[in-house]
Symmetry: C2
């Protein structure tokens, strides 16, 4: 079996239609292409960022659908944001340590839409945005096409975003349209922001007057202790919280939310209408029904128990089978472990070997690099020797087998 995971840039040109100039810089999503390649049958893949499908509450959600469709004629109609769903989100936020009220909750078609709407809201053409060097590709995609100045800061693998580096940029005069952060169980790094750095970042936002976009898809998925309260619990004026049902219920619901200062809601409403008119009334009402039926707490416990087991299985197996030169993060939540190999190892090249020789896959670190990824263009990066491993979408047995295989590859090439 041979695979080709080299990103193909602009391999197609429009033979007829004149396209907007900026679309010439559009790159295909390397991540999506890799995922397509490594999701072939027979490959043990730690590549994706997918939840475990066998844990989806399909039966309970089907019940919620049946109750809703039999009772509520408006469930298939156009409709405004559904207040009972907002009420349940206020309750969820309280569990996360955040006090808010329904008028601050803004429903979105998944968290990705929130990132898009917030970029439209805050970013002037040519304005600056501050993000981490290695970060979720979705924020990079949301920023493409705005001619934004992308300022990056490093991330410490134990303490999270380097807030000293943030302050240096601010002292040098940077006034970002926003700072993007994933404080809990960072994707791809699996690190959580320390409480000291969280406080520091919020203080900087207040002092310099910039919004923090806090992306919290994994905040309800922590495995060792209570999750750290989000940045939004420290400040309700400068922190915009972005939440998602994708990882705690199901991605195919395409349902997310923001908690924002109330005065932003009218503008956000108009921006969102331009994108997709509204978020499905059907999905909003069925999820509200699922939550009303009280299924979520036990479901979250089940997710935490199972993902904790998978994480622990992967970490223990890595300990046994990876060479001592490999280092990795120890995530307290989320879905990912970040692995650093010696500097001479190129994990993009290694992926081809891993898939061909051992039928095991991961995502090379450079896929998440702002400098070598969707926005930037340099071809080398300090993440070239790194990989992201997902532990949520494989059974403990698959994790064991896959890590043994990957260990053999690493022993050969590190």
């Amino acid at each position: 079996m041979t695979i080709n995971i080299t990103p193909v840039v602009n391999e197609f040109e429009s033979p007829d239609l004149r396209l907007a100039g900026w679309t010439r810089s559009i790159k295909r999503s390397v991540l999506r292409e890799m995922l397509a390649v490594v999701s072939r049958p027979g490959i043990l893949s730690f590549a994706g960022g997918l939840p475990a499908p066998e844990l989806f509450p399909a039966k309970e959600y089907a019940q919620a659908v049946n109750v809703t469709l039999s009772r509520d004629k408006e469930a298939l109609q156009y409709g405004p944001p559904y207040p009972p769903l907002k009420g349940h989100i206020v309750d969820l936020m309280a569990q996360r340590g955040v006090a808010c009220y329904e008028e601050q909750v803004f429903i979105t078609t998944g968290a990705q839409q929130a990132l898009n709407v917030l970029t439209r809201l805050f970013l002037d053409r040519g304005g600056a945005v501050l993000i981490e060097e290695l970060v979720y590709t979705g924020i990079q995609q949301a920023l493409a096409g705005y001619e934004a100045e992308i300022i990056t800061v490093p991330t410490d693998l134990e303490l999270g975003m380097e807030t000293d580096a943030v302050e240096s940029h601010l002292l040098a005069g940077l006034r970002p349209a926003y700072v993007y952060a994933i404080p809990e169980a960072h994707n791809p790094l699996g690190v959580s922001l320390s409480e000291a750095r969280a406080s520091r970042l919020v203080e900087l936002a207040r002092k310099y007057g910039f919004p923090i976009v806090e992306d919290d898809p994994y905040g309800f998925l922590t495995y060792d202790k209570e999750a750290t309260p989000p940045l939004r619990s420290l400040d309700d004026r400068w922190v915009i919280y972005v939440g998602s049902f994708s990882k705690i219920l199901a991605p195919a619901l395409r349902l997310g939310w923001m908690v924002v200062p109330e005065y932003l809601v009218p503008k956000l409403t108009v921006l969102k209408e331009a994108l997709d008119l509204e978020t499905s009334a059907f999905i909003q009402r069925t999820v509200a029904e699922y939550l009303e039926a009280g299924h979520l707490p036990s479901h979250l416990n089940q997710l935490r128990d199972e993902y904790r087991l998978r994480r622990d299985t992967m970490l223990a197996s890595m300990e046994r089978h990876f060479p001592p030169v490999a280092r990795w993060t120890n995530p307290s939540g989320g879905m990912f472990i970040w692995v650093e190999l010696p500097g001479h190892v190129d994990t993009t090249e290694l992926l081809t070997i891993a898939v061909e020789e051992e039928h095991v896959a991961y995502i090379p670190g450079s896929a998440f690099s702002v400098n070598s990824g969707i926005i930037g263009s340099s071809l080398s990066d300090r993440s070239d020797n790194c990989m992201r491993l997902n532990f949520s979408n494989s059974s403990p047995e698959e994790i064991e087998r896959g890590i043994v295989r990957l260990g053999r590859i690493l022993h050969k090439h590190c």
Copy 2:
């Protein structure tokens, strides 16, 4: 009861956060505000553009959900566009007289997302777009914030878009990023483009090399004869077809599609990912299951029969109860009738009277005017004396009663 339907522009300013400059020009959606006001209990409203909720195939769709959720673990997971749904869309397009294949079908989160993605794809900052003077507000929203030069052409109430006016602009040097058209059962005007003008428009697109964005939400809802085949049946290179399940199944599915030249799909994929990652795999699979079960043809027949009855009831009732100075369109499909009153009548002022005195509502014509609406700023327009009436969302009995009431208002004020 008093109502206030004056659009409030920029009534809020950000007390803290610095917003992107262009957001200062954001106006609240007048249409949405009016709809909120006139949807109070006790008001007979012809204002919205809503399908009849009592005709939603809730039972058959619930069956499709139950079958899908019990059988298909991937239905709640992240997932790529679902090929069986594309196959059904190819079949639907064939019924509309369009030959296409699955690789040309692009799934969207409703048709509004298609308009957004196409605007991003074709429109350079400061570029021009050609649309009709009176047109669906969603396209106006999709264009807001791009600093587009909006060129408008009039619409003949019997033959549709004035293609002579389109050609005049082209002869004068205009090269639009795209031309937007609703050839079948225009919203808000209820007119269908004549076959001669359809051919002419497509010839102009070929000759001058611009794409036509063909919005066809009502193409399956025609009541007198076979629907005219869409522009896409005349040309597969220059016409981008936009379709929607909102009016033929249910709006809350938020499911639409495009038929595009195949070479555009990779770029569209990246543009769409930035907006919302992907369209719900759950919705795609359940709608495919509904279609696979063969429910749609009889459902469409039922919709056509009932909407035909409602249209005919409204037209006959208008004939009996409206003053002779009122003129209106005779739509062969869709959901709307357009009414022109004498020039001195201001239908925005009249709406307040209609709601207060007779508890009946419509949408004033100016809500759809590009010049006085979302993008433009002038306050007077040739649509100020017009109104749009919806006939799909009221029972024949309600239509009778509402038209009697509206007739009394018109007799007093025309």
